[in-house]
Amino acid sequence: MSLLFGKKENEVINLFRDHLNMVGQVIDETFKIIKLSCDEDCTDIVKTVRQKESEADSIRRNAETLMYSGAFLAQSRGDMLGLIEAVDKVANKAETVADVIYLQNLKIPDSLRDKYIKEYECSVESFKALATAVENLFENIDKSKNAVLEVERWENTGDGIERSLIKEVFTLNIELARKIQLRELALQIGDIADRAEDASDRIEIIILKMSA
Protein backbone atom coordinates (compact mmCIF):
# COMPACT_ATOMS: atom_id res chain seq x y z
CA MET A 1 0.00 0.00 0.00
CA SER A 2 1.52 3.31 -1.03
CA LEU A 3 -0.67 5.66 0.96
CA LEU A 4 2.19 7.98 1.77
CA PHE A 5 4.78 9.50 -0.51
CA GLY A 6 7.27 6.79 0.30
CA LYS A 7 10.46 4.91 -0.29
CA LYS A 8 9.95 4.14 -3.97
CA GLU A 9 9.16 7.77 -4.78
CA ASN A 10 12.29 8.90 -2.95
CA GLU A 11 14.37 6.36 -4.86
CA VAL A 12 12.98 7.67 -8.15
CA ILE A 13 13.73 11.26 -7.10
CA ASN A 14 17.32 10.24 -6.33
CA LEU A 15 17.58 8.62 -9.76
CA PHE A 16 16.23 11.83 -11.31
CA ARG A 17 19.10 13.68 -9.56
CA ASP A 18 21.69 11.14 -10.74
CA HIS A 19 20.30 11.39 -14.26
CA LEU A 20 20.47 15.20 -14.25
CA ASN A 21 24.03 15.02 -13.01
CA MET A 22 25.01 12.62 -15.81
CA VAL A 23 23.26 14.69 -18.50
CA GLY A 24 25.11 17.73 -17.14
CA GLN A 25 28.40 15.87 -17.55
CA VAL A 26 27.55 14.99 -21.17
CA ILE A 27 26.90 18.68 -21.86
CA ASP A 28 30.12 19.77 -20.13
CA GLU A 29 32.25 17.21 -22.00
CA THR A 30 30.79 18.32 -25.33
CA PHE A 31 31.60 21.92 -24.45
CA LYS A 32 35.28 20.98 -24.30
CA ILE A 33 35.18 20.04 -28.01
CA ILE A 34 33.78 23.43 -28.95
CA LYS A 35 36.31 25.28 -26.84
CA LEU A 36 39.20 23.31 -28.29
CA SER A 37 40.33 23.54 -31.81
CA CYS A 38 39.42 19.95 -32.65
CA ASP A 39 42.45 17.84 -33.52
CA GLU A 40 43.15 14.17 -32.81
CA ASP A 41 42.84 14.66 -29.01
CA CYS A 42 39.07 15.01 -29.40
CA THR A 43 38.72 11.23 -29.64
CA ASP A 44 38.99 10.74 -25.89
CA ILE A 45 36.47 13.49 -25.18
CA VAL A 46 33.99 12.05 -27.67
CA LYS A 47 34.43 8.62 -26.08
CA THR A 48 33.66 10.15 -22.68
CA VAL A 49 30.60 11.91 -24.10
CA ARG A 50 29.27 8.61 -25.46
CA GLN A 51 30.00 6.76 -22.25
CA LYS A 52 28.28 9.39 -20.09
CA GLU A 53 25.29 9.51 -22.43
CA SER A 54 24.98 5.75 -22.19
CA GLU A 55 25.16 5.94 -18.38
CA ALA A 56 22.40 8.55 -18.42
CA ASP A 57 20.29 6.16 -20.51
CA SER A 58 20.88 3.42 -18.00
CA ILE A 59 19.83 5.61 -15.04
CA ARG A 60 16.71 6.66 -16.96
CA ARG A 61 15.77 3.03 -17.57
CA ASN A 62 16.22 2.20 -13.87
CA ALA A 63 13.99 5.13 -12.93
CA GLU A 64 11.33 3.99 -15.42
CA THR A 65 11.38 0.43 -14.11
CA LEU A 66 11.02 1.70 -10.55
CA MET A 67 8.14 3.98 -11.54
CA TYR A 68 6.25 1.09 -13.08
CA SER A 69 6.80 -1.03 -9.99
CA GLY A 70 4.43 1.32 -8.18
CA ALA A 71 6.11 4.65 -7.47
CA PHE A 72 3.84 7.72 -7.76
CA LEU A 73 0.12 7.73 -8.49
CA ALA A 74 -0.74 5.88 -11.69
CA GLN A 75 -1.91 9.17 -13.27
CA SER A 76 1.42 10.88 -12.53
CA ARG A 77 3.66 8.12 -13.85
CA GLY A 78 3.21 9.04 -17.50
CA ASP A 79 4.15 12.65 -16.73
CA MET A 80 7.22 11.66 -14.70
CA LEU A 81 8.25 9.25 -17.42
CA GLY A 82 7.80 11.99 -20.03
CA LEU A 83 9.93 14.32 -17.94
CA ILE A 84 12.91 12.00 -17.54
CA GLU A 85 12.75 11.10 -21.24
CA ALA A 86 12.64 14.78 -22.16
CA VAL A 87 15.71 15.45 -19.98
CA ASP A 88 17.43 12.50 -21.60
CA LYS A 89 16.89 14.04 -25.03
CA VAL A 90 19.03 16.99 -23.93
CA ALA A 91 21.95 14.58 -23.47
CA ASN A 92 21.22 12.98 -26.85
CA LYS A 93 21.41 16.38 -28.49
CA ALA A 94 24.70 17.24 -26.78
CA GLU A 95 26.08 13.95 -28.10
CA THR A 96 24.88 14.90 -31.59
CA VAL A 97 26.77 18.18 -31.33
CA ALA A 98 29.95 16.27 -30.43
CA ASP A 99 29.34 13.96 -33.40
CA VAL A 100 28.75 16.84 -35.83
CA ILE A 101 32.17 18.23 -34.96
CA TYR A 102 34.07 14.96 -34.57
CA LEU A 103 32.67 12.81 -37.38
CA GLN A 104 32.72 15.60 -39.96
CA ASN A 105 36.09 16.84 -38.70
CA LEU A 106 34.54 20.29 -38.53
CA LYS A 107 36.90 23.18 -37.88
CA ILE A 108 35.27 26.20 -36.27
CA PRO A 109 36.79 29.38 -37.74
CA ASP A 110 38.63 31.37 -35.06
CA SER A 111 36.56 34.44 -35.91
CA LEU A 112 33.36 32.58 -34.93
CA ARG A 113 34.59 30.45 -32.02
CA ASP A 114 33.56 32.97 -29.32
CA LYS A 115 30.06 33.18 -30.74
CA TYR A 116 29.72 29.39 -30.79
CA ILE A 117 30.98 29.32 -27.22
CA LYS A 118 28.42 31.98 -26.25
CA GLU A 119 25.63 30.07 -27.94
CA TYR A 120 26.69 26.87 -26.20
CA GLU A 121 26.87 28.72 -22.86
CA CYS A 122 23.22 29.68 -23.30
CA SER A 123 22.38 26.02 -23.78
CA VAL A 124 24.43 25.14 -20.68
CA GLU A 125 22.62 27.80 -18.65
CA SER A 126 19.23 26.67 -19.90
CA PHE A 127 20.08 23.13 -18.83
CA LYS A 128 21.28 24.35 -15.42
CA ALA A 129 17.96 26.13 -14.97
CA LEU A 130 16.15 22.95 -16.03
CA ALA A 131 18.12 20.97 -13.44
CA THR A 132 17.10 23.51 -10.77
CA ALA A 133 13.47 23.19 -11.89
CA VAL A 134 13.55 19.38 -11.67
CA GLU A 135 15.39 19.34 -8.33
CA ASN A 136 12.88 21.73 -6.78
CA LEU A 137 9.84 20.11 -8.35
CA PHE A 138 9.15 17.90 -5.35
CA GLU A 139 10.09 20.34 -2.60
CA ASN A 140 9.35 23.89 -3.71
CA ILE A 141 6.97 24.51 -6.59
CA ASP A 142 7.61 28.27 -6.64
CA LYS A 143 11.36 27.80 -7.10
CA SER A 144 10.66 25.24 -9.79
CA LYS A 145 8.35 27.62 -11.65
CA ASN A 146 10.93 30.41 -11.52
CA ALA A 147 13.56 28.07 -12.89
CA VAL A 148 11.21 27.12 -15.75
CA LEU A 149 11.02 30.82 -16.68
CA GLU A 150 14.81 30.96 -16.52
CA VAL A 151 15.06 28.07 -19.01
CA GLU A 152 12.89 29.99 -21.43
CA ARG A 153 14.94 33.15 -21.00
CA TRP A 154 18.22 31.36 -21.80
CA GLU A 155 16.63 29.58 -24.74
CA ASN A 156 15.52 32.93 -26.20
CA THR A 157 18.97 34.42 -25.71
CA GLY A 158 20.50 31.38 -27.43
CA ASP A 159 18.07 31.75 -30.34
CA GLY A 160 19.26 35.30 -30.94
CA ILE A 161 22.91 34.25 -30.97
CA GLU A 162 22.09 31.31 -33.26
CA ARG A 163 20.46 33.58 -35.85
CA SER A 164 23.27 36.11 -35.88
CA LEU A 165 25.82 33.28 -36.04
CA ILE A 166 24.18 31.69 -39.09
CA LYS A 167 24.03 35.08 -40.78
CA GLU A 168 27.71 35.62 -40.13
CA VAL A 169 28.62 32.13 -41.37
CA PHE A 170 27.14 32.95 -44.77
CA THR A 171 29.18 36.14 -45.04
CA LEU A 172 32.45 34.21 -44.72
CA ASN A 173 34.59 33.53 -47.68
CA ILE A 174 34.61 29.74 -47.35
CA GLU A 175 33.17 26.78 -49.28
CA LEU A 176 29.39 26.41 -49.29
CA ALA A 177 29.68 22.87 -47.86
CA ARG A 178 31.57 24.20 -44.86
CA LYS A 179 29.04 27.01 -44.43
CA ILE A 180 26.29 24.39 -44.31
CA GLN A 181 28.28 22.37 -41.77
CA LEU A 182 28.72 25.43 -39.57
CA ARG A 183 25.05 26.32 -39.88
CA GLU A 184 24.21 22.76 -38.88
CA LEU A 185 26.42 23.08 -35.79
CA ALA A 186 24.73 26.33 -34.73
CA LEU A 187 21.30 24.71 -35.14
CA GLN A 188 22.29 21.62 -33.14
CA ILE A 189 23.70 23.71 -30.29
CA GLY A 190 20.47 25.71 -30.25
CA ASP A 191 18.52 22.46 -30.09
CA ILE A 192 20.10 21.63 -26.72
CA ALA A 193 18.34 24.65 -25.22
CA ASP A 194 15.17 23.85 -27.19
CA ARG A 195 15.09 20.38 -25.66
CA ALA A 196 15.72 21.81 -22.20
CA GLU A 197 12.72 24.03 -22.80
CA ASP A 198 10.60 21.06 -23.92
CA ALA A 199 11.48 19.31 -20.67
CA SER A 200 10.64 22.41 -18.65
CA ASP A 201 7.22 22.55 -20.36
CA ARG A 202 6.56 19.11 -18.91
CA ILE A 203 7.39 20.41 -15.45
CA GLU A 204 4.77 23.11 -15.85
CA ILE A 205 2.21 20.46 -16.82
CA ILE A 206 3.10 18.30 -13.80
CA ILE A 207 2.69 21.29 -11.47
CA LEU A 208 -0.63 22.23 -13.09
CA LYS A 209 -1.94 18.69 -12.79
CA MET A 210 -0.97 18.51 -9.13
CA SER A 211 -2.72 21.79 -8.36
CA ALA A 212 -6.38 22.28 -7.52
Partner: protein, 313 residues
Protein backbone atom coordinates in the same frame (compact mmCIF):
# COMPACT_ATOMS: atom_id res chain seq x y z
CA UNK B 1 -39.14 -20.39 9.24
CA UNK B 2 -39.57 -20.33 5.44
CA UNK B 3 -40.89 -16.78 5.71
CA UNK B 4 -37.80 -15.73 7.66
CA UNK B 5 -35.48 -17.40 5.21
CA UNK B 6 -37.23 -15.78 2.26
CA UNK B 7 -37.04 -12.35 3.89
CA UNK B 8 -33.37 -12.74 4.77
CA UNK B 9 -32.50 -14.13 1.32
CA UNK B 10 -34.30 -11.29 -0.49
CA UNK B 11 -32.71 -8.63 1.71
CA UNK B 12 -29.30 -10.24 1.35
CA UNK B 13 -29.63 -10.33 -2.44
CA UNK B 14 -30.64 -6.67 -2.57
CA UNK B 15 -27.95 -5.57 -0.13
CA UNK B 16 -25.28 -7.58 -1.89
CA UNK B 17 -26.13 -6.06 -5.29
CA UNK B 18 -26.09 -2.56 -3.78
CA UNK B 19 -22.64 -3.10 -2.28
CA UNK B 20 -21.36 -4.81 -5.42
CA UNK B 21 -22.55 -1.95 -7.68
CA UNK B 22 -21.23 0.87 -5.51
CA UNK B 23 -17.81 -0.51 -4.59
CA UNK B 24 -16.33 0.51 -7.95
CA UNK B 25 -17.60 4.10 -7.91
CA UNK B 26 -16.25 4.70 -4.40
CA UNK B 27 -12.95 2.78 -4.42
CA UNK B 28 -12.29 2.53 -8.17
CA UNK B 29 -10.09 5.64 -8.35
CA UNK B 30 -7.95 4.49 -5.41
CA UNK B 31 -7.39 1.05 -6.85
CA UNK B 32 -6.66 2.20 -10.40
CA UNK B 33 -4.30 4.86 -9.04
CA UNK B 34 -2.48 2.13 -7.05
CA UNK B 35 -3.04 4.07 -3.84
CA UNK B 36 -4.34 0.96 -2.13
CA UNK B 37 -4.63 -2.64 -3.17
CA UNK B 38 -7.90 -4.22 -4.27
CA UNK B 39 -8.19 -6.50 -1.24
CA UNK B 40 -7.39 -3.71 1.24
CA UNK B 41 -10.06 -1.56 -0.43
CA UNK B 42 -12.76 -4.22 -0.33
CA UNK B 43 -12.09 -5.08 3.32
CA UNK B 44 -11.87 -1.44 4.46
CA UNK B 45 -14.96 -0.52 2.44
CA UNK B 46 -16.88 -3.51 3.81
CA UNK B 47 -16.06 -2.54 7.40
CA UNK B 48 -17.18 1.05 6.92
CA UNK B 49 -20.33 0.34 4.92
CA UNK B 50 -21.31 -2.08 7.67
CA UNK B 51 -20.56 0.50 10.38
CA UNK B 52 -22.55 3.11 8.46
CA UNK B 53 -25.50 0.78 8.12
CA UNK B 54 -25.40 -0.43 11.71
CA UNK B 55 -24.71 2.89 13.43
CA UNK B 56 -26.43 5.36 11.12
CA UNK B 57 -28.94 3.38 9.07
CA UNK B 58 -31.86 3.57 11.44
CA UNK B 59 -33.28 6.93 10.39
CA UNK B 60 -34.34 5.98 6.86
CA UNK B 61 -36.20 2.84 7.93
CA UNK B 62 -39.29 4.77 9.06
CA UNK B 63 -39.49 6.40 5.62
CA UNK B 64 -39.28 3.13 3.74
CA UNK B 65 -41.81 1.22 5.77
CA UNK B 66 -44.26 4.12 5.67
CA UNK B 67 -44.69 4.28 1.88
CA UNK B 68 -47.45 1.74 2.34
CA UNK B 69 -48.54 -0.47 5.23
CA UNK B 70 -45.99 -3.22 4.93
CA UNK B 71 -46.87 -6.88 5.25
CA UNK B 72 -44.77 -9.95 4.53
CA UNK B 73 -46.18 -10.25 0.98
CA UNK B 74 -45.71 -6.58 0.19
CA UNK B 75 -42.16 -6.42 1.56
CA UNK B 76 -40.98 -9.57 -0.17
CA UNK B 77 -42.56 -8.70 -3.53
CA UNK B 78 -41.09 -5.15 -3.37
CA UNK B 79 -37.59 -6.29 -2.41
CA UNK B 80 -37.60 -9.26 -4.79
CA UNK B 81 -38.77 -7.22 -7.80
CA UNK B 82 -36.10 -4.60 -7.11
CA UNK B 83 -33.40 -7.26 -6.75
CA UNK B 84 -34.47 -8.90 -10.04
CA UNK B 85 -34.51 -5.60 -11.93
CA UNK B 86 -31.20 -4.46 -10.47
CA UNK B 87 -29.50 -7.76 -11.32
CA UNK B 88 -30.85 -7.80 -14.89
CA UNK B 89 -30.00 -4.14 -15.53
CA UNK B 90 -26.53 -4.53 -14.01
CA UNK B 91 -25.93 -7.59 -16.19
CA UNK B 92 -26.74 -5.55 -19.29
CA UNK B 93 -24.80 -2.51 -17.97
CA UNK B 94 -27.96 -0.40 -17.88
CA UNK B 95 -28.28 2.44 -15.38
CA UNK B 96 -30.35 1.60 -12.35
CA UNK B 97 -30.95 2.72 -8.80
CA UNK B 98 -32.00 0.51 -5.92
CA UNK B 99 -33.53 3.47 -4.09
CA UNK B 100 -35.79 4.30 -6.98
CA UNK B 101 -36.49 0.64 -7.58
CA UNK B 102 -37.66 -0.09 -4.06
CA UNK B 103 -39.81 3.04 -3.85
CA UNK B 104 -41.36 2.20 -7.24
CA UNK B 105 -42.17 -1.33 -6.17
CA UNK B 106 -43.67 -0.24 -2.83
CA UNK B 107 -45.79 2.37 -4.58
CA UNK B 108 -46.86 -0.23 -7.20
CA UNK B 109 -48.09 -2.69 -4.60
CA UNK B 110 -49.49 0.16 -2.52
CA UNK B 111 -51.58 1.27 -5.50
CA UNK B 112 -53.05 -2.23 -5.77
CA UNK B 113 -53.94 -2.06 -2.09
CA UNK B 114 -55.12 1.56 -2.51
CA UNK B 115 -52.81 2.44 0.34
CA UNK B 116 -49.97 4.81 -0.59
CA UNK B 117 -48.64 7.46 1.74
CA UNK B 118 -48.26 10.18 -0.90
CA UNK B 119 -46.75 12.60 1.60
CA UNK B 120 -43.77 10.26 2.09
CA UNK B 121 -43.56 9.49 -1.64
CA UNK B 122 -43.62 13.21 -2.44
CA UNK B 123 -40.89 13.88 0.14
CA UNK B 124 -38.71 11.16 -1.39
CA UNK B 125 -39.41 12.31 -4.98
CA UNK B 126 -38.40 15.87 -4.12
CA UNK B 127 -35.21 14.59 -2.52
CA UNK B 128 -34.41 12.72 -5.76
CA UNK B 129 -34.75 15.96 -7.69
CA UNK B 130 -32.60 17.77 -5.18
CA UNK B 131 -29.87 15.10 -4.93
CA UNK B 132 -27.80 15.86 -8.06
CA UNK B 133 -28.00 19.63 -7.50
CA UNK B 134 -27.25 19.30 -3.79
CA UNK B 135 -24.25 17.11 -4.52
CA UNK B 136 -23.11 19.62 -7.14
CA UNK B 137 -23.26 22.53 -4.68
CA UNK B 138 -21.45 20.51 -1.98
CA UNK B 139 -18.72 19.53 -4.44
CA UNK B 140 -18.22 23.11 -5.67
CA UNK B 141 -18.10 24.48 -2.13
CA UNK B 142 -15.78 21.79 -0.78
CA UNK B 143 -13.53 22.05 -3.83
CA UNK B 144 -13.10 25.78 -3.33
CA UNK B 145 -12.46 25.47 0.42
CA UNK B 146 -10.13 22.44 0.31
CA UNK B 147 -8.17 23.74 -2.69
CA UNK B 148 -7.41 26.95 -0.75
CA UNK B 149 -5.41 24.87 1.73
CA UNK B 150 -4.12 22.37 -0.79
CA UNK B 151 -2.68 25.01 -3.12
CA UNK B 152 -0.78 26.55 -0.22
CA UNK B 153 1.34 23.42 -0.02
CA UNK B 154 4.49 24.24 -1.93
CA UNK B 155 5.93 20.75 -1.88
CA UNK B 156 4.77 18.35 -4.55
CA UNK B 157 5.89 15.54 -2.26
CA UNK B 158 3.48 16.77 0.42
CA UNK B 159 0.70 17.31 -2.11
CA UNK B 160 1.12 13.70 -3.22
CA UNK B 161 0.74 12.46 0.34
CA UNK B 162 -2.22 14.75 1.05
CA UNK B 163 -4.08 13.72 -2.09
CA UNK B 164 -3.56 10.04 -1.27
CA UNK B 165 -4.82 10.50 2.29
CA UNK B 166 -7.77 12.57 1.03
CA UNK B 167 -8.71 9.90 -1.50
CA UNK B 168 -8.51 7.16 1.10
CA UNK B 169 -10.29 9.12 3.84
CA UNK B 170 -13.09 10.32 1.58
CA UNK B 171 -13.65 6.80 0.21
CA UNK B 172 -14.03 5.47 3.76
CA UNK B 173 -16.37 8.37 4.55
CA UNK B 174 -18.45 7.70 1.42
CA UNK B 175 -18.67 3.99 2.32
CA UNK B 176 -19.96 4.88 5.77
CA UNK B 177 -22.44 7.37 4.31
CA UNK B 178 -23.64 4.88 1.71
CA UNK B 179 -24.28 2.30 4.42
CA UNK B 180 -26.11 4.83 6.59
CA UNK B 181 -28.25 6.17 3.75
CA UNK B 182 -29.05 3.04 1.78
CA UNK B 183 -29.63 0.57 4.63
CA UNK B 184 -33.29 1.57 4.57
CA UNK B 185 -33.57 0.42 0.95
CA UNK B 186 -32.41 -3.05 1.86
CA UNK B 187 -34.26 -3.92 5.02
CA UNK B 188 -36.52 -0.89 5.55
CA UNK B 189 -39.59 -2.51 3.96
CA UNK B 190 -39.20 -5.53 6.26
CA UNK B 191 -39.30 -3.63 9.54
CA UNK B 192 -42.53 -3.70 11.52
CA UNK B 193 -45.64 -5.84 11.67
CA UNK B 194 -43.75 -8.81 13.12
CA UNK B 195 -41.18 -8.90 10.34
CA UNK B 196 -37.58 -7.84 11.16
CA UNK B 197 -36.75 -6.04 14.39
CA UNK B 198 -34.72 -2.84 13.99
CA UNK B 199 -31.43 -4.35 15.19
CA UNK B 200 -31.93 -7.37 12.92
CA UNK B 201 -32.62 -5.06 9.99
CA UNK B 202 -29.48 -3.03 10.62
CA UNK B 203 -27.36 -6.14 11.06
CA UNK B 204 -28.66 -8.06 8.03
CA UNK B 205 -28.59 -5.01 5.74
CA UNK B 206 -25.10 -4.08 6.89
CA UNK B 207 -23.73 -7.58 6.38
CA UNK B 208 -25.36 -7.86 2.95
CA UNK B 209 -23.87 -4.58 1.72
CA UNK B 210 -20.48 -5.48 3.20
CA UNK B 211 -20.58 -8.80 1.34
CA UNK B 212 -21.31 -6.89 -1.86
CA UNK B 213 -18.18 -4.79 -1.26
CA UNK B 214 -16.09 -7.86 -0.45
CA UNK B 215 -17.09 -9.74 -3.58
CA UNK B 216 -16.90 -6.78 -6.01
CA UNK B 217 -15.13 -7.79 -9.19
CA UNK B 218 -11.57 -6.52 -9.61
CA UNK B 219 -12.10 -6.25 -13.36
CA UNK B 220 -15.26 -4.14 -13.03
CA UNK B 221 -13.58 -1.91 -10.44
CA UNK B 222 -10.64 -1.28 -12.76
CA UNK B 223 -12.94 -0.60 -15.74
CA UNK B 224 -15.16 1.84 -13.85
CA UNK B 225 -12.21 3.27 -11.95
CA UNK B 226 -10.47 4.13 -15.23
CA UNK B 227 -13.50 6.16 -16.35
CA UNK B 228 -13.43 8.10 -13.10
CA UNK B 229 -9.66 8.54 -13.03
CA UNK B 230 -9.80 10.55 -16.24
CA UNK B 231 -10.10 13.19 -13.51
CA UNK B 232 -7.03 14.11 -11.51
CA UNK B 233 -6.75 12.42 -8.08
CA UNK B 234 -7.62 15.65 -6.23
CA UNK B 235 -10.75 16.12 -8.36
CA UNK B 236 -11.95 12.55 -8.03
CA UNK B 237 -11.47 12.61 -4.25
CA UNK B 238 -13.60 15.78 -4.01
CA UNK B 239 -16.26 14.15 -6.22
CA UNK B 240 -16.34 11.18 -3.81
CA UNK B 241 -16.51 13.58 -0.84
CA UNK B 242 -19.47 15.38 -2.46
CA UNK B 243 -21.26 12.09 -3.01
CA UNK B 244 -20.55 10.92 0.56
CA UNK B 245 -21.72 14.20 2.10
CA UNK B 246 -24.98 14.18 0.11
CA UNK B 247 -25.65 10.62 1.26
CA UNK B 248 -24.89 11.50 4.87
CA UNK B 249 -27.04 14.64 4.91
CA UNK B 250 -30.02 12.77 3.46
CA UNK B 251 -29.46 9.92 5.90
CA UNK B 252 -29.79 12.43 8.76
CA UNK B 253 -33.06 13.53 7.14
CA UNK B 254 -34.11 9.88 6.94
CA UNK B 255 -34.43 9.86 3.15
CA UNK B 256 -32.64 7.22 1.08
CA UNK B 257 -31.22 8.66 -2.15
CA UNK B 258 -29.45 7.28 -5.21
CA UNK B 259 -25.68 7.19 -4.77
CA UNK B 260 -25.24 7.19 -8.56
CA UNK B 261 -27.12 10.47 -8.90
CA UNK B 262 -25.21 12.00 -6.03
CA UNK B 263 -22.04 10.92 -7.80
CA UNK B 264 -23.13 12.49 -11.11
CA UNK B 265 -23.96 15.75 -9.31
CA UNK B 266 -20.66 15.98 -7.45
CA UNK B 267 -18.66 15.07 -10.58
CA UNK B 268 -20.46 17.87 -12.44
CA UNK B 269 -19.59 20.23 -9.56
CA UNK B 270 -15.90 19.42 -9.84
CA UNK B 271 -16.18 19.95 -13.59
CA UNK B 272 -17.76 23.38 -13.11
CA UNK B 273 -14.93 24.55 -10.84
CA UNK B 274 -12.36 23.33 -13.35
CA UNK B 275 -14.24 24.81 -16.29
CA UNK B 276 -14.65 21.44 -17.97
CA UNK B 277 -17.77 19.61 -19.04
CA UNK B 278 -18.05 16.39 -17.08
CA UNK B 279 -21.75 15.74 -17.63
CA UNK B 280 -23.22 15.03 -21.05
CA UNK B 281 -26.79 14.97 -22.31
CA UNK B 282 -26.51 11.18 -22.14
CA UNK B 283 -25.83 11.41 -18.40
CA UNK B 284 -28.81 13.71 -17.87
CA UNK B 285 -31.01 11.26 -19.79
CA UNK B 286 -29.67 8.51 -17.56
CA UNK B 287 -30.74 10.46 -14.48
CA UNK B 288 -34.21 11.11 -15.87
CA UNK B 289 -34.57 7.48 -16.93
CA UNK B 290 -33.50 6.52 -13.40
CA UNK B 291 -36.32 8.69 -12.02
CA UNK B 292 -38.96 7.30 -14.37
CA UNK B 293 -38.08 3.91 -15.85
CA UNK B 294 -36.68 2.03 -12.84
CA UNK B 295 -39.62 2.72 -10.48
CA UNK B 296 -42.10 1.87 -13.25
CA UNK B 297 -40.48 -1.49 -14.03
CA UNK B 298 -39.95 -2.53 -10.39
CA UNK B 299 -43.50 -1.40 -9.58
CA UNK B 300 -44.93 -3.57 -12.36
CA UNK B 301 -42.88 -6.64 -11.41
CA UNK B 302 -43.65 -6.16 -7.71
CA UNK B 303 -47.37 -6.11 -8.50
CA UNK B 304 -47.04 -9.37 -10.49
CA UNK B 305 -45.09 -11.07 -7.67
CA UNK B 306 -47.56 -9.74 -5.11
CA UNK B 307 -50.57 -11.05 -7.07
CA UNK B 308 -48.93 -14.46 -7.48
CA UNK B 309 -48.17 -14.62 -3.75
CA UNK B 310 -51.76 -13.66 -2.95
CA UNK B 311 -53.19 -16.28 -5.31
CA UNK B 312 -50.95 -19.01 -3.84
CA UNK B 313 -51.82 -17.82 -0.40
Amino acid sequence: MLRDLLMIATAMLLGWSLGYNNMATIFGPLITSDIIKYRVATITGAIFIFLGAFLGGDSGISTMNSVTHVTFDISVSAALSTAIVVLIMTHYSLPTSITQGIIGSLVGVGLVERDVNWWIVGKVAISWLITPFGALVIAVFSYIVISLFYNRLKSLRLRGTVVRLMSFGFSIYASYSLGANNLANITGPFVGKGLFGREEALLIGGIAMALGFLTASKKVIRTIGKDITIMEPFDSSIAIFGEGTSLLIFSFLGIPISSAQASVGSTAGVGIVNGIKTVSLKTILRIVSGWLVTPFITGTIAVIIYMVMKIWG
